[in-house]
Amino acid sequence: MLEPTREALYRLASLDPALWTVIGVSMQVSLAALAIATPFAVAGGYLLAMTRFPGRRLLVVLLQSLLSLPTVVIGLLLYLLLSRQGPLGAWQLLFTREAMAIGQVVIAFPIVCAFTLAAVQAADPRLHETARLLGASRLRAAFTLLREVRFALVAAILSGFGRVVSEVGCALMVGGNIAGHTRTIPTAIALETSKGAFTEGIALGIVLMGVALVVNVALAFSQGAGQGQGNDRGRSGPGAPGRTAGVP
């Protein structure tokens, strides 16, 4: 155990190209997916929290259900859509980074959307009213409210990142785990471990744990920065509690 770990650390420190390519692919795909999903998810969460329409309750339940949808099921559905015989087969996206990014968008969207919904619902209802009274357009009032719950939004986005960077099922199915092309940290760990090549697995595991640590430290920091945030529901002024994102 010690020897493979020492070897893994050495390979990481010596910038082993094979390892760092995998890390690069992982980061590229996950960050791209998050960048695509976040604006839609935040807008969706805001609209779900602020508007009332027939079927809204059903949509919220559906969103909550998507949170617990196994990533392999998303991978399977995407595989069926993108495979040569599938309805989107002509796009020839299967076993590409784009296909992996699409899968991760589907995984990240409900997380960021549900957390945004919770954050906006928990915000002081006077925020929107105050902005509108001061003459803000609906769009400006929306940005004002989102700015007031920014720490919860950061937590939502970090949670989404944590989920997509570590998911293996969808990436494996639609990416194909092709070395140097679609091999990500989690899929590489699964493959190397199955081959008995623990050094690579441990090295990538260290990176994944490092990423998780960074995300959690950032999450804790954003929640800490949100402590005393004055615009939680029904309270303002010194000592109002911070808002921690939660699933509605």
Binding site: A131, L133, G135, A136, R147, G230, S236, P238
Partner: protein
Amino acid sequence: MTRPPLLCAYGLCLRFGARGVLDDCSLAIAAGEACVLTGDNGAGKTTLLRVLAGLQRPDAGTLLFDGQPVEAGRFPPSVRRALQFVPAHPLLFSTSVQANIDYGLRARGIGRAECRRLAQAAIEWARLQPVAATDPRRLSAGETQRTAIARAWVLAPRLLLFDEPTANLDRESHAQVLDLVGRLVRDGAAVLIAAHDRALAELPGARRLHLSGGRLATLGA
């Protein structure tokens, strides 16, 4: 000469479930007129102000602004710009006092330099210079109230609605807020102030309205 009415309300009725809050309330506020609205706790003063500010739809009744009918909750931009409502517990955005004050100016598309100049004037008017750059979470209740009043004042509204502006303030903050409201009235702003506070209820030159059992009565200036 009689001043033309700025805001008129006729036959406002509102019920919350089985409880009637407003029952055929009518009033008119002229440009530059100061009115004080008194009433017991739960009499419906805040509700009436929210109806007049367009934040609450009445079950029945008509609102006219400058003689034009307006629908509560759907005030046209010109009316929304002409009215400001300062609630009893105003909410400040978690930016700075100055940013709060120039928020409405920026929302109106006023240039950055002009915003800064007007906000600075409002800060001086409300004597908020020592806390201008402060995070609103660190303000006292009195400073919060003065910031909210300055934030409304800077927009030069034609009618200001105040809900208990001196509620829960210590003696010094109370005097400062009272001074601001008094200066507004002396400067000829049209104001309607819901108040329990005796000092506000007996504001010199203000017409006194009393809300009781959902009915509005004029008590005289």
